[in-house]
Symmetry: C2
DNA sequence: CCAGGTCTTAAACAAACGTTTAATTAAAAC
DNA sequence: GTTTTAATTAAACGTTTGTTTAAGACCTGG
């Protein structure tokens, strides 16, 4: 162990290690299901360090959620806006967001599992993030699509829908891995392509569109 | 309060009330975040009744997961098989599954939030359910589509994808409700239609399919 | 009426929980 | 070299946790 750090960095490293282990444990056992003693042991720090750095367990959770959601929002901003047509930007966004999810898998799982929780300390801040996300999706996807003549889509439905699609693989991964004959964790590349294709053209993908109306 | 039940039914009613309140509380506070005393108070029963009926807290969770997943599997079996073309059956399945999710909202949230947990007592049983689900989806969707000439789809990707799409609205609902200017819980009918349309034809829906290849 | 099963209760158990305190070490600043 | 500041430690705080126990209430079948 490299205990000989420059001094000033020592605390920062402990702090970082706590966050990383918290994401790992919260994803596997849940936020409430993970004790601070177990977390401290996994991170190799003293129990009191967690409250020293973050003030409380809930504040640590907030920091994890904030870090992940801010990064996701950043991806949406960067990939969804531009002069290209909606299809191109949507395809780019899906690929980048899936890649972002893959590299922040634990934080993603923590965020999704804590989404439905109605803790008053956290829900309002999640709503604030949601408002920004809806704004981007409405401006860059829904409005352009409506201008092209497609039916008007509500960003409040499309936003969660897109996010859930891109996250589905990671959400189900623990179960899939336990299933025989499949589920080995392959590169997320082809998965991103599948999601993009379905979002753009449906499950049959760029063919067979000459069916009559259904129902 | 109708305390005057036929006698033999009394226990069954208490048991039922415990399950209902457990779904409600687990959905809002998480499984680990809900204490048995709080649950007992909400259900109007004595603390010891929970262990009397279910043996342990984890067994109660298992029963909730099992009830929901069995119902979901039943919907998939009933709506996905038949002689109609894939599009028709998929459309029907999406509408029925969304309706099922809507009427079992709390159990759905509990199930999704507990999906990534790797508790050895539960994960193997979740995997058993997943295997049955993958079997149905492969037989009724992936294979017929491949026969029609579409690209071969992996049920291990399509299954979680479909489920996540149909669940997205309910998963994000607590956050959406807190957001201003939208998110009022409207009937799931138009939401089911949106999901079905995207699955079948993509986000632009039944038009504008004459774009060139992307990227 | 009484025996037998189901259901309900209050009380206690050890263990684990999140948080706080006070004392100590180590590096930085002056 | 001394003062400040940041990082780390062990120990204890009072609650709350899931579970168990033993006794009592209730209704049912004989």
């Amino acid at each position: 162990m490299s205990k000989k750090v420059n001094g000033k960095e020592k605390g920062r490293l402990s702090r970082q290690r706590i966050i990383e282990e918290a994401e790992r444990l919260f994803a596997r056992q849940g936020y409430s299901g993970t004790g601070l003693r177990e977390l401290a042991a996994a991170a190799g720090v003293n129990l009191a360090m967690i409250n020293y750095f973050f003030g409380s367990k809930k504040q640590l959770l907030k920091e994890i959620l904030d870090g992940f959601l801010a990064g996701y929002l950043e991806v949406a901003r960067q990939e969804l806006q531009g002069d290209e047509e909606v299809r191109v930007r949507l395809d780019r966004f899906v690929r980048c967001a899936v890649a972002y999810f893959a590299s922040h898998r634990d934080a993603l799982l923590v965020t999704i599992a804590e989404l439905p929780r109605d803790d008053p300390e956290i829900i309002e801040y999640k709503a604030a993030w949601g408002r920004q996300m809806m704004e981007i999706i409405d401006r860059e996807i829904c409005q352009p699509l409506a201008r092209e003549g497609s039916r008007r889509l509500s960003p409040h439905l499309i936003g969660p829908l897109l996010t859930s699609m891109m996250a589905s693989r990671f959400l189900f991964a623990p179960v899939m891995e336990r299933m025989a004959g499949g589920g080995e964790v392959r590169g997320g590349r082809e998965y991103a392509e599948l999601v993009s294709r379905i979002v753009l053209d449906g499950i049959e993908g760029e063919r067979n569109h000459n069916y009559g109306s259904v129902n």
